[in-house]
């Protein structure tokens, strides 16, 4: 109270001019009635949008789009490669070569029945004359009479991929019962396709790693660039007594928002692209364009895990930006403190 009285007296003596009253509703006192001055809702400590922040958001959106696109592409290639592999390995073929005196139809039926006695086989189909003629049409032309030519005939056996039959036993039995039969389990093709599929996926994964590395570095440098424009804020907060953790958390929150917006935009755009391509493909089935695209790229559909990966990519980018912001701010504060502990480092400090 003494302080207050002294100050009041001093001000009375000083005869200071009263502050102009205004007609705004902000006026705080009139006739002894005090009205709360209106203050705008407290804004964030960091400016919600500036050039650096917007540029960072665009960079994150682009990198996120590219990363999600690569991820979806690799996921698609993996699914297509796996589909090739399973389609080929789902069937085996018994080939019966013609021989003088061989009753081909009986041999075909016998081979099919023998094969179906094995556990792991599902269905046996004898390729009839018409189907065989169609198969040979590209080489021998139309109107082929199979009876005039010694053309091998085929039995296609569908197998359970999860529980395949004993191929060696089947081969031995067929050799014993139908010596003209030759079992082709497509192992050579399957091995080549598996190898090709694995290589394709490996290439895809390498591209994914490269894109992710580029994305990480771009996001880190863009975040640091955006932060450098806010160094004065770090300094002011530091000098008004903010603890490092507080400053870091403010910047973290700010950059988390930016990165979530950017990565959500990029990821959503990539997901939308895949969804649209898939929709287009399913709506244009059996058209030449769709068939060509399918032959080249497989189906554009990415499965649930593909979409999950896109979401994961977005989260990784958001975390990465947030962590980069935190570490950069902490380092900026460390640098300010380093200047404190080492007067030799006088970066930017006037020494007058």
């Amino acid at each position: 109270m003494n302080d207050l009285n002294r100050l009041k007296n001093a001000l009375k003596k000083s005869g200071s001019k009263p502050e102009k009253k205004t007609a705004t509703p902000h006026s705080s006192s009139s006739g002894g009635r005090r009205t709360e001055m209106r203050v705008r809702p407290t804004g964030p400590i960091l400016p919600p949008s500036n050039i650096q922040g917007n540029a960072l958001m665009v960079v994150i959106a682009i990198m996120s789009f590219l990363a999600c696109l690569t991820f979806g592409g690799v996921s698609m290639v993996r699914a297509t490669a796996s589909s090739w592999e399973s389609q080929i390995s789902r069937e085996i073929t018994i080939q019966i070569k013609p021989q003088d005196g061989l009753d081909m139809d009986a041999a075909l039926k016998k081979a099919r029945d023998l094969a179906l006695t094995f556990v792991g086989t599902k269905q046996g189909t004898i390729m009839d004359d018409a189907a065989t003629a169609r198969l040979l049409e590209p080489w021998l032309g139309a109107g082929l009479d199979l009876k005039e030519l010694p053309v091998p005939r085929l039995v296609i056996i569908t197998i359970d991929e999860a529980n395949p039959p004993d191929f060696a036993g089947m081969r031995d039995l067929l050799k014993a019962e139908v010596p003209q039969a030759f079992l082709d389990d497509h192992r050579t093709w399957v091995d080549r396709l598996v190898s090709m599929a694995h290589t394709t996926v490996l290439i895809g994964m390498s591209i994914l790693i490269l894109v992710f590395t580029a994305m990480i570095l771009t996001v880190i440098f863009a975040t640091r660039g955006a932060l450098s424009g806010n160094r004065h804020i770090v300094e002011v907060l530091h000098f008004v007594g903010a603890e490092s953790g507080f400053v870091a958390s403010e910047f973290q929150k700010h950059f988390l928002k930016i990165s979530l917006k950017g990565s959500a935009a990029g990821g959503a755009l990539a997901a939308l692209l895949f969804a649209s391509a898939s929709l287009w493909q399913s709506n244009s089935l059996a058209t030449p364009q769709s068939d060509q695209a399918t032959a080249l790229f497989g189906t554009f559909t990415i499965d649930f895990f593909g979409y999950l990966g896109i979401v994961a990519t977005m989260i990784v980018i958001a975390l990465l930006t947030t962590l980069t912001a935190r570490f950069t701010v902490m380092r900026t504060i460390d640098e300010i403190d380093l200047i404190r502990s080492d007067p030799g480092r006088s970066d930017g400090i006037p020494s007058s």
Binding site: S14, P18, S28, T42, I45, A242, R340
Partner: protein, 262 residues
């Protein structure tokens, strides 16, 4: 005697308009909770043989030995390049000396862990020469910043901030962004920010460097009132005219050496 040297009509206008608003600063000038009653007579800041050099260069400051007593008022002056800003930085703990001892609030500065420095800085208010207001925050938000970074709820300090702003004559400028403020208004906003958390000592670097003489006298009046309420004040200035208005302690830096005239 000091009051006589300040022209009455140049005192802060808002103060007379509503003397009750001063209650906030009366409240906010309470001794800092960390101040121990036993240390009241001990100097707030004590320098002993302090020297500072940048890198391998010559010593900017040499053999500084002085005290800043509680509730004292002093000018820090000297020619350009004498080391005033560097000395203010030492006082504000944003530099450490190359040699010598600095005790602040009865603690040896070299023994204080980095994590504790923010707590000590909260006991010191600083007004930068270039104000360092954040352009995207309003005057109110800038002034409230020291309390905000301490994690206080806005409702708990809103009235105090507004009253302090009125006291420094910015009652009608609370929702204005700094780029719109005049030099004098920015200076007063920076002073209000420095005072917001009841510092025990206020350091001001050329606080009248960007304002006209009448405003300079107003600001000086403000510093004197603060000092009367118990805050120690150190004003770094070149302005001889300003210093002549007050019969206060003068710390004169010349080529890194300090002479004190009580």
């Amino acid at each position: 005697m000091l009051c006589k040297r300040i022209r009455r009509r140049q005192a802060l206008p808002s103060a007379r308009k509503d003397p009750s608003t001063l209650a906030v600063y009366e409240r906010s000038s309470h001794r800092h909770p960390n101040t121990n009653a036993l240390t009241l007579d001990v100097a707030l800041i004590h320098f002993e043989n302090v020297g500072l050099r940048y890198g391998m260069g010559p010593e900017i400051l040499r053999d500084l030995t002085f005290d800043i007593p509680r509730r004292s008022f002093q000018f820090l002056t000297g020619p350009s390049g004498a080391g005033k800003t560097t000395l203010l930085r030492l006082l504000f703990m944003s530099l450490q000396p190359t040699r010598g001892l600095i005790r602040m609030f009865d603690r040896d500065l070299s023994q204080i862990p980095r994590a504790e420095l923010p707590m000590l800085r909260r006991r010191v208010g600083i007004v930068f020469q270039d104000f360092r207001l954040l352009d995207h925050l309003t005057t109110y938000e800038n002034v409230a910043l020291p309390l905000r970074v301490r994690g206080k709820d806005e409702a708990s300090y809103r009235t105090d901030v507004i009253e302090l702003l009125k006291w420094v004559g910015l009652g009608e400028r609370i929702n204005v962004l700094p780029p719109v403020l005049s030099g004098g208004e920015k200076q007063r906003a920076a002073i209000a920010r420095a005072l917001m958390d009841r510092p025990e000592i206020l350091l001001a670097d050329e606080p009248t460097g960007n304002v006209d003489p009448p405003m300079a006298r107003r600001l000086l009046n403000l510093f004197l009132e603060l000092n009367r309420l118990g805050t120690a004040v150190v004003i770094a200035t070149h302005d001889l005219g300003l210093m002549d208005q007050v019969d206060a302690r003068r710390m004169i830096l010349t080529e890194g050496r300090l002479d004190i005239y009580e």
